[in-house]
Amino acid sequence: MPFTFKSIKKKMIAFWKISDEVARGKAVETLEVELEELDHILGILVLGVFIGLPSPPMQISLELMPMMEKELILMMEKVDTANEPIAQLFSTLSID
C-alpha cells in the first residue's frame, strides 16, 4: 500500500510539473511573439537607414549598431516571413 501511494504521489508531482511548465509556456507564448516584434521594431527604427527607411541621425545608428547583433539577425530572419505576415499572425493567435 505505501509503495502504491508513493508511486501515485510521484506521478502526480510529475504531472503537476509538466502541466505547470506547459501552462507557463502558453502564458508567455504571446508575450514572446510580442517581444520579438518589439525587438524587430527597434531594429527597423535604428537600422532602417540601411533598408531605405527614415531613421535617426546617422551617428545614432552607427554607434548603436555594434550592440544590435540580435536585432540585425532578427531582421534578416523576418525577410523569410515577410511574404506571409498574416499566416504568422494566425499561428500566433492559434487561429485554424
Partner: protein, 291 residues
C-alpha cells in the same frame, strides 16, 4: 553666424585679437570649410593649434578628417562585435557611408566637443561658424537627436520589462547582464543633453549674429533668429558690419532688442594681424563693446 560674405570670419578674427590683447587666452577655431582664417592671417592653419601672438591660437578644423576618424572608430567597434563578418569587407561599405546626410554636421559637432574639452583652461573659444545652413543643422542636432533617443529609450525599456516578465513567469534563474544597448542610449542622451544645455545657456555659448546694412542680410538674419528661437537658443549680440556713415544698424523690431556693435566698412583690406590691429585701434569705442 550670418549670411555668406557679411564678414563672419573677419569679425571672429577681430574679436579674438581684441580679447587676446586684453590679456585673455584665446583659441580661434574655424569650423567653416572655406578656411578663411588662413587667408586673413596669411598663414596656414590646421587641426593643430598654431600660436599667433602671445595669447592667441588658431585652429582650422578639417571636416573630412573628423568624419574619417569617426567612421574608422565605428568600423573597429563593429569589427569587434561582428568578428565573423570580416570576410564581408566592411571597409568598402564604410566608404559609402561617409557621404551619408547628417555626417557633415556631426563632424563639426565632434570637433566642437573635442576642442571645448581640450582647451577648457582657455578663457575664450571663438568659433568662426560655417555657412548658415550647416550652422543651423549643427545647433539643431542635439535637439533632433534627443527626440529620437527619448523614443528609443522608451522602446528599449519596454522590451526589458517584457523580457523580465517572461523570465519571472518561466521561473528561469537567468540573470541578464546590464543591457549594453540601454546603457549606450542613456550615454548618448546625456551627451546631447549637455550639449543642448550649453547652447541654451548664454554664459556658456554667446552667439554673435553678423549682418550688413542690406535687405538680404537682414532677411537671412531673421530666418537664423527664428530657427534659433525654436531651439530656445538666444543671440548674445549683433555685429553690424560694413556700416556706411551713421545709418541705423537694424530696422527690424525683433533685432533691435539685441545689443549691437557697429563697425564701419574698412578702407583697406583687413588682411594680416597689423591691419586687424589698426582697424581695432581706429574703432576703439565699438571694439570696447566686445567685452
Amino acid at each position: 553666424m550670418g549670411k555668406g560674405g557679411v564678414g563672419k570670419s573677419t569679425s571672429a578674427a577681430l574679436h579674438s585679437i581684441f580679447l587676446a590683447e586684453k590679456g585673455y587666452r584665446v583659441v580661434l577655431v574655424s569650423l567653416d570649410p572655406a578656411h578663411n582664417q588662413s587667408d586673413i592671417f596669411e598663414r596656414r592653419f590646421s587641426d593643430k593649434a598654431r600660436k599667433v601672438g602671445s595669447n592667441l591660437f588658431v585652429i582650422e578644423v578639417e571636416q573630412e578628417r573628423w568624419i574619417k576618424t569617426y567612421l574608422k572608430d565605428v568600423q573597429q567597434q563593429i569589427n569587434r562585435a561582428y568578428a565573423y563578418l570580416t570576410a564581408f569587407n566592411l571597409e568598402s561599405h564604410f566608404k559609402v557611408i561617409k557621404h551619408s546626410p547628417g555626417l557633415e554636421e556631426y563632424a563639426v559637432l565632434l570637433a566642437y566637443k573635442h576642442i571645448c574639452k581640450a582647451y577648457a583652461d582657455f578663457d575664450f573659444l571663438v568659433f568662426d561658424m560655417p555657412p548658415t545652413a550647416l550652422s543651423l543643422k549643427f545647433f539643431s542636432l542635439p535637439s533632433l537627436s534627443l527626440i529620437w533617443l527619448d523614443h528609443l529609450l522608451a522602446l528599449r525599456r519596454e522590451i526589458i520589462k517584457k523580457r523580465d516578465l517572461i523570465t519571472k513567469i518561466k521561473l528561469i534563474k537567468k540573470e541578464y547582464e546590464r543591457d549594453k544597448l540601454l546603457n549606450k542610449i542613456n550615454e548618448q542622451q546625456r551627451d546631447y543633453q549637455d550639449l543642448k544645455s550649453g547652447f541654451e545657456t548664454m554664459d556658456v555659448t554667446r552667439i554673435h549674429l553678423v549682418l550688413n546694412p542690406d535687405k538680404l542680410s537682414h532677411a537671412e538674419s531673421m530666418r537664423i533668429l527664428d530657427r534659433l528661437d525654436e531651439l530656445d537658443i538666444k543671440v548674445y549680440r549683433i555685429i553690424c558690419n560694413k556700416m556706411q556713415g551713421e545709418s541705423s544698424c537694424v530696422k527690424i523690431k525683433k533685432l533691435e532688442t539685441i545689443p549691437q556693435i557697429k563697425f564701419p566698412a574698412s578702407r583697406i583690406p583687413l588682411i594680416g594681424v597689423s591691419a586687424l590691429q589698426r582697424f581695432l585701434k581706429e574703432n576703439r569705442d565699438a571694439a570696447a563693446k566686445q567685452l
